[in-house]
Symmetry: none
Subunit: 297 residues, 2 copies
């Protein structure tokens, strides 16, 4: 029997009370899923849980986590730096193993419908699960945040949710549910303190200013090292590989007289993304993962 694994990474608008995260993690584990990571950010006042499991278990765990969050969080009292629209702010499903993007789109729709109809929380489908083009990007869905959406959802037909009532849930707000490819958080450090150089390279790299498809990038300064960094999300490593991003940065850095010091990966990374780098580096031909010893014995 073929194993099928889907990942879900819900973000919750509570980042200061550890007992909240304990409760959510328990709900997810009790639904038969494996929690890979759970972290709180007090400054963002936000928690992120990364869990995996069989599609049916992940679907159940996601719904139950959203229900529990709607009982524990009161958006009327929430403040924090990160943009948000609800208690369960965003909930993406990601195909990992033996599951397709289409499977995850369907999961997002089913879970979204249940959250809308059973919990009476308005749901916006986003990313690959979006039902309309102006909801593909999360910032478009979150426009105005909780406070702004409260009025807009009632008055603006373009803000009518895909599921659930056309008014915010009195405590839990609204939720964005979607499907996307695994995302890679990738940072490249330069041998210069000049953040302007990092920003100028980031502009060359990122999709929004005409760079590489599926790449988000910013130039920032890292206080600890005193060096400039290009901090990125690679939204689709199969379309734009780490190798391509890295070599483009290498080239742009060289043309500005600076060099890459090192790079970092934040959180989890799909194996294929790293193997692609090795294959490209070695100009390797005719190889397949079926010949990697550790993966087949």
């Amino acid at each position: 029997m073929r194993r099928r694994i889907v990942e879900c990474i819900p973000n919750f608008s509570e980042g200061r009370d550890p007992s909240f995260l304990d409760e959510i993690v328990k709900v997810i584990k009790d639904s038969g899923c494996n929690v890979l990571d759970a972290s709180m950010d007090p400054s963002h006042n936000r928690s992120v849980v990364t869990f995996v499991g069989a599609p049916a278990d992940v679907e159940q765990a996601a719904f139950r986590a959203a229900r529990r969050a709607s009982e524990l969080i009161d958006m009327e009292k929430h403040e924090g730096e990160h943009p948000r629209i609800g208690a369960t702010d965003v909930m993406p499903f990601v195909p990992i193993l033996g599951a397709t993007m289409e499977d995850c789109v369907e999961m997002a729709r089913r879970v979204g419908r249940r959250i809308g109809e059973e919990l009476r929380i308005p749901v916006y489908l986003y990313a690959r699960a979006a039902a309309r083009p102006d909801r593909v990007r999360l910032p478009d869905v979150r426009r105005g945040e909780y406070e702004g959406l409260k009025a807009a959802i009632k008055t603006d037909p373009n803000r009518k949710p895909d599921f659930g009532p056309s008014e915010l849930h009195p405590r839990a707000g609204a939720t964005a549910v979607g499907a996307r490819a695994p995302l890679i958080a990738f940072n490249v450090n330069l041998n210069t303190p000049d953040v302007k150089i990092a920003r100028s390279i980031a502009r060359k790299i990122r999709e929004s200013s005409g760079g590489l498809p599926h790449v988000q990038a910013m130039g920032i300064k890292i206080d600890e090292t005193g060096l400039a960094q290009i901090t990125m999300n690679l939204l689709d490593f199969r379309a734009t590989s780490m190798e391509l991003v890295y070599s483009k940065i290498e080239e742009e850095a060289a043309s500005r007289g600076v060099e890459i010091v090192n790079s970092e990966l934040i959180g989890l990374v799909p194996l294929d993304a790293l193997l692609d780098v090795a294959f490209a580096r070695l100009k390797l031909e005719g190889f397949s993962k079926q010949r990697i010893l550790d993966l087949i014995v």
Copy 2:
């Protein structure tokens, strides 16, 4: 119960008749082993089969495959670029899971004894199974190849086999049986037909002529492509990484005015060897395999 897995990678001196490989693979599967890879190289006129299984099954499969090869191959008629001494030219056992190097040394000795005594094929124990220091290295065991060994085995006391008669089997020649750590068979193709360039780079690379530790390398010409190739065994990728070998070849090639076209891996490769290449390419810091999604779900 603890699972014990041993790998065996016999090389046979027949690389042009697909029905030969079918027969050998069948013998191995019928002995209860799992064939991970089976490939023929017409220019080398050589087949390599990679199989794994429980130690007792692997031992049985290895002996039966050597027996079948001795029935199917006639070394008197064999020609091909790769050095060889017999029908089953070389047969290493490799500990993979729950088995030790000592287990594999004992397997090599038992299988070697059976091939020598039951099939009347002289057997040289090599690598970690070697019974004398001048048989640790395969090139020493293969010196003179089939044609040269035919006389030397009778006249030179230092070429007397560890098992079996002191004359070559009339059709099957001799066999090297051994135990070793997982090895990487890595070939790099150059954009030149000039085999002298490949040979000169191979001399720079290989340990035996003062190059990189644990690297065996030869320069050969590939008939199919008309290009020169550096064909290598990396005996310890943790000591000398693929990245180091590749970049050294890149450098030596550039200094001779040629370039790498592509590379190939033969058989199986440990995952770490490929990950090391990716990490080096990206100058990645602070990362561990524990954060590779596929390995932890």
